[in-house]
């Protein structure tokens, strides 16, 4: 019997090379320090040529440490001509097929550039691949480079919301439209049959993928134990741009995804409308200071308490989930004030998405600037990787066309 293999695949442009190095080394570290993991781990870094060129020495160092480096050739095209991250994901899929790794004994664990793993992630993967499900999704925490800024406080609510995502995803029709692009585990043959190719630029390639898997294989999604560990946006501007990208992804899926069944399209559209309603809700609340809505509030008042408490619970429980990983707490007043700021950015984000659009290579910094000192509010040990000065790029096509190198 062939040993099960798990490919830890980090797919990114590659310009945040310090974040990628840290993510890669978390895999290398826990691969060495996790006994009885029950699978053979491999590490693939899939980056664009410009990402590789941003720090060849970092990537070569990671290669020497055991990572397999795939630089997507500039001239690589898919049958449908997809672009962006989907193109890189399809390239990795093609590589697996070519190398005979597209079978039921191989699994792919997807990571973003800043997705670190822990011992629990390994344990969760080990448990999942022995079960009947074909795709696993878990909860993501955001403790890395935590500074207690508004964007970081807003991020903790996402961790608590992941339980909603897990529930929705494991139900037959994914009623509240939850999915992740990272911290997902997919059996390789399933991923490679479904593929990532679609016409043109797909800003919601993870959602498209989930829709395709569900339509072809049915409700094969399960809960993946173990956290993944990521970092929130460093600034409110980056938070805004990140959310803009998400909203563009949702709108793209609603309007231009022919594979989307009608009921899924409706639930997705409703999710988008809910998000859009946040800003008008604030405006109406402020307007109530001047206008008197009178008996109309008898209707809305029934639900107001539930919404308020649900929102506060997401902050409190999200923060509690992170508490184990934060060395110092922040004052309550700061938590409340910054939480309101972060929430306001999330409220305006969908409207911002209506009046602007992300570029193909929309770049959101995940590397703390080199040489930047850890802030006094930093709760975790600084975990950044020392940047290594670039010493000249190696032709990317030569990297990608190298003979396959296993990590064995």
């Amino acid at each position: 019997m062939t040993a099960r293999t798990v490919i830890f695949q980090i797919t990114a442009i590659g310009r945040n090379y310090r974040a990628i190095a840290e993510s890669a080394r978390s895999v290398l570290y826990w691969a060495r320090h996790t006994p009885r993991q029950g699978f053979v781990p491999r590490l693939w870094l899939v980056v664009e040529p410009e990402g590789y060129a941003s720090s060849p020495s970092t990537y070569e160092s990671l290669r020497s440490e055991g990572a397999r480096l795939l630089v997507v050739p500039r001239n690589y095209t898919t049958p449908l001509g997809t672009r962006g991250k989907a193109r890189a994901l399809q390239y990795a899929s093609d590589q697996r097929v070519e190398e005979g790794l597209s079978n039921a004994e191989v699994w792919v664990y997807h990571q973003d550039e800043e997705t670190c793993v822990g011992q629990d992630t390994f344990a969760g993967i080990s448990d999942f691949i022995r079960g009947p499900k074909l795709v696993g999704v878990g909860v993501i925490l955001y403790p890395i480079d935590w500074s207690g800024s508004p964007s970081h406080i807003q991020e903790v609510t996402r961790s608590y919301d992941d339980f909603r995502v897990l529930d929705s995803m494991t139900m037959p029709k994914n009623p509240s439209a939850g999915f992740h692009g990272s911290h997902i585990l997919v059996r390789a043959d399933v991923e490679d049959v479904v593929g990532w190719d679609s016409i043109g630029y797909s800003p919601a390639e993870d959602l498209t993928f989930e829709i395709r898997v569900r339509s072809r294989f049915g409700p094969v999604f399960g809960v993946l134990k173990g956290f993944a560990y990521e970092k929130g946006a460093f600034s409110l501007r980056d938070q805004l741009r990140q959310r803009r990208r998400w909203m563009h992804g949702v709108l793209f899926a609603v309007r231009r995804s022919p594979e989307l069944p009608r009921d899924r399209r409706l639930s997705l559209a409703y999710s988008a409308i809910s998000w859009f309603s946040a800003l008008p809700s604030i405006a109406v609340l402020v307007a109530s200071l001047a206008f008197h809505y009178g008996p109309a509030l008898l209707v809305t008042g029934i639900f107001t308490g539930f919404i308020w408490v649900s929102m506060v619970t997401a902050y409190l429980e999200g923060y509690r989930m992170h508490a184990e990983y934060l060395e110092r707490r922040i004052p309550l007043i700061q938590f409340v004030a910054f939480g309101l700021v972060g929430a306001f950015i999330d409220a305006i984000a969908p409207w911002y998405a209506l009046v602007s659009r992300p570029s193909l290579g929309d770049f959101i910094a995940k590397d703390r600037p080199a040489g930047a000192a850890a802030t006094p509010r930093s709760h975790l040990p600084r975990s950044g990787i020392r940047s290594v000065p670039a010493r000249g790029a190696i032709a990317s096509s030569s990297i990608a066309s190298e003979p396959p190198r296993t990590t064995a």
Binding site: E22, R25, T34, P41, F163, Y293, F303
Partner: protein
Amino acid sequence: MDEPATGSIDPAPEAVVGVQTGPSGVPAFCQFTATRYDRTVRQLKARRRRIFGWTVGLAAGISIALEVLNVLAREPMPPWWLALLPLVWLIPVPFFVLAFWGTQRTLRANHLETGVSS
């Protein structure tokens, strides 16, 4: 942690040499242990009923208070276009209900601990 890894990844010792260490002297990802994870999810699962009670109880309390205040205020009915504005607050209600039940169900139905001690 008493056995060597069996995976094909066997990085050279310098794999972690380039990693900056924090006050406690280890890279952040070294602290992402199964013990911490298990403790976090165990505590969260233990709070599930309390979260349920807190959400339902406090939500009911706030809503009742708002209703009472509204009745006591005895305000006249505003123009219809003004009276409709607060309906925007109702749009996300189904989403929040789904999230509440979904979270409760996930925490109740899944054994989330890894059981691995480090």
